[in-house]
């Protein structure tokens, strides 16, 4: 399990990539990725290309990110989800809160 982050050139977009299992063990690193910043981004992207598994604590972490990013005004995209991950997100109807692809 690893969490990596990259900023866009103008530091307005933050992309956080998860590889391996996205579960409770990732909690602290995931939070650090979006909390420990010098400039607050306006857009967030969560890249799940290498994420093998997602559980309810991962869903909770996404909600925390959304809350941090402004709640109803947050702009968060979740990209590169595998079909398994998409299924989990679909059952929870998280597409109503996040831009999922």
């Amino acid at each position: 399990m690893a969490v990596t982050r990259t900023f866009s050139a103008d530091e307005k977009d933050l992309t956080i990539a998860i590889s391996g299992r996205f579960d409770f063990a990732a909690h602290q690193e995931f939070r650090d990725a979006y909390e420990r910043v010098e400039h607050t981004p306006t857009r967030y992207t969560v890249d799940l290309k290498n994420a093998t598994y997602l559980d309810s604590s991962a869903l909770g972490m996404l909600l925390l990110l959304r809350d941090h990013a402004g709640g109803d005004h947050a702009r968060i995209a979740i990209i590169n989800s595998s079909s398994d991950v998409q299924k989990i997100l679909a059952i929870s109807n998280f597409n109503k809160l996040f831009d999922i692809s």
């Binding site: 309810s56 604590s57 869903l59 909770g60 972490m61 109803d72 059952i91 929870s92 109807n93």
Partner: protein, 572 residues
């Protein structure tokens, strides 16, 4: 809980057992010089006795001793030491491999050759002491963990006892319900609640909180209280959902939520109303055709959205006697076997397809799971609800908490609910609350609520919203009907429903007259009354039900006004 308890370094008490006085004296001096205190023994038996009495931390043991040799003494000392590590260093000039093997087999941890090398001895004592302290730390932490685990289990026991008190007002033991739930499901975050409404409908909730242990259980209690409280008062599914969502949103941290499926089964109307957020598919199983209708999660789980954004849209399905609804938590689909395969949706659907007689769906899923896993486990929750005849179930009598002395017996009241109110307010619980003040009427609460609900829904849906009751003839029309209902209600900007209540004494008892008027176009009440109930099926305005449960039911003003009466003989 501070787990960094490490056993401290310090001078040791060392037992030196050697039958040679010279060697004993020399070794004692060497060891004392290294800062430790020394006790001695001259043979194996004495060594064991001295060890038992004084419990040194380290033992230097000559392999060849009279009376009891070093090997036997070592075995006995290790036995006396128990779980703790007491390092034994054999003093030996034995060079053969055999002898050294004997040392190890007897429980020796190291050797020191004669003539003694002080530097080597010091190094060995230090290394052995480190191991000793490590073992001691491990044991202490293990005991700490065991203690804390004991406290945790106790806390859970208490929490469960409190919860069981909250949950006692449910009707999970109703004959039309089959369910499986581990006694400690609460701590897996699983929640299964069922309760009757005053009209005799049944509300059911299957929930799955995020997290485990006490955090999951703690959210369940406020949720259960809202569910039971509102259901008992006659609130509908949507109002109850809104309150539950608002409560969880308010009290739970951002990353906690509750996936849930809620059902309202109406035996009188032969329908089931469903809301599902975040749960795996439930299934509606038709008794006659074997058709399987998936009940899909359309919503976000409870506790995620703010009250303003919460969506309470429900789906309504017709349900005939013999039809069932099956609900389950994701513990079923995610069950794994020894090869770490998942049970999965395909196996579940296969198990559902296998049932061939009444009541076997539940069992076929259970046996498919047990066969898959090779064992029976109950770390998931499952409930099967059957649609039965309206009078088959006997909901318990409502319990009233007042003294029964004061009762209003001569009054009238009128209400007009207009568009804005009709959109978002269900007046029935409020009206029932008022009417329950009339003690003589209480034995008929069930019928009273059913009739009021039927009259109100007719006035709203067929009257104000203009929905065609004939649509509910078949399943497709059914879905259309409820879709239209939602759309028209959202768009409603004019219209009204009026309610008039009139209560008066009559002999020893009294009489309640209810009149309901709506702003709709009316209908041909006489024609509807003439059609036998059987032919109409699900469609129609429940007119026969109203006539059955109340007195002097009549319609006027082209069907826009309905009037019913309830009478009672005694004041209660």
């Amino acid at each position: 809980m501070n787990m960094s308890t490490e056993v401290a370094q310090g001078p040791l008490t060392v037992l030196i057992a050697d039958d040679n006085m010279t060697d004993r004296m020399l070794l004692s001096s060497i060891v004392r010089r290294q800062g430790h205190s020394v006790i001695t023994a001259g043979d194996g038996l004495e060594a064991v006795r001295v060890f038992a009495e004084q419990r040194p931390q380290l033992v230097l043991l000559d392999a060849m001793m009279p009376v009891m040799d070093g090997f036997a003494a070592a075995r006995e000392i290790k036995r006396l030491a128990g779980e703790a590590l007491v390092p034994i260093i054999f003093l030996t000039s034995l060079s053969e491999e055999q002898a050294l093997v004997r040392c190890l087999e007897a429980g020796g941890d190291d050797f020191l050759a004669k003539p003694y090398n002080q530097v080597i001895l010091a190094a060995k004592i230090k290394a052995m002491d480190r191991l000793r302290r490590l073992q001691a730390t491990v044991l202490e932490q293990r005991d700490q963990i065991a203690r804390h685990h004991g406290y945790l289990l106790n806390e859970q026991r208490v929490a469960k006892a409190v919860f069981d008190q909250v949950a006692h007002s449910g009707c999970l033991d109703s004959p039309n319900i089959r369910y499986l739930q581990s006694p400690y499901a609460l701590f897996n975050g699983d929640l299964l609640l069922a309760a009757f409404t005053p009209a005799g409908d049944m509300h059911v909730l299957l929930g799955d909180f995020t997290g485990h242990g006490l955090p999951a259980a703690v959210g369940a209690m406020p949720l259960a209280e809202v569910f039971y409280g509102m259901t008992a008062k006659g609130y509908g599914l949507q109002e109850t959902l809104r309150e539950m969502n608002a409560k969880l949103k308010r009290i739970l941290p951002v990353d906690m939520f509750c996936c849930a499926t809620l059902l309202s089964l109406s035996f009188q109307r032969g329908i089931v109303e469903v809301w599902s957020g975040g749960m795996p598919e439930g299934y509606l199983l038709r008794g006659d055709s074997g058709e399987r209708v998936p009940l899909v999660s359309r919503h976000l789980p409870l506790g995620v959205l703010s009250p303003a954004r919460f969506e309470d849209r429900t789906d309504v399905w017709p349900l005939a006697v013999g039809d069932r609804v099956l609900l389950l938590t994701d513990g079923v689909i995610e069950a794994t076997n020894a090869d770490e395969e998942l049970f999965g949706v395909e196996r579940l659907l296969a198990a559902l397809g296998e049932r061939n007689a009444q009541g076997e769906v539940f069992d076929s899923v259970l046996s498919a799971l047990s066969a898959f896993r090779g064992e029976y486990r109950d770390d998931f929750s499952m409930a099967e609800l059957a649609m039965v005849q309206p009078d088959y179930l006997k909901p318990p009598a409502l319990i009233y908490s007042d003294s029964g002395q004061s009762s209003p017996l001569d009054w009238s009241s009128s209400f007009e609910f207009r568009a804005e109110t009709l959109k978002r307010f269900n007046p029935l619980p409020f009206l029932m609350h008022m009417l329950q003040e009339i003690h003589g009427l209480r034995p008929q609460s069930g019928a009273l609520y059913s009739v009021l609900a039927e009259l109100y829904s007719n006035a709203l849906e067929h009257g104000v919203l203009g929905l065609d009751s004939e649509l509910k003839r078949d399943a497709r029309g059914f879905a259309q009907y409820y879709e239209q209902r939602n759309t028209r209600l959202t768009q409603l900007d004019e219209g009204y429903v009026r309610l008039h209540l009139h209560v008066r004494r009559e002999g020893e008892g009294g009489r309640l007259v209810i009149r309901v008027e709506d702003s709709g176009r009316g209908f041909d009440a006489r024609k509807a009354l003439a059609t036998p109930a059987r032919e109409r099926g699900l469609s129609g305005r429940g007119i026969h039900l109203i006539r059955q449960l109340s007195q002097n039911a009549s319609w006027a003003d082209d069907g826009r006004s309905a009037q019913v009466e309830f009478a009672w003989e005694q004041q209660g």
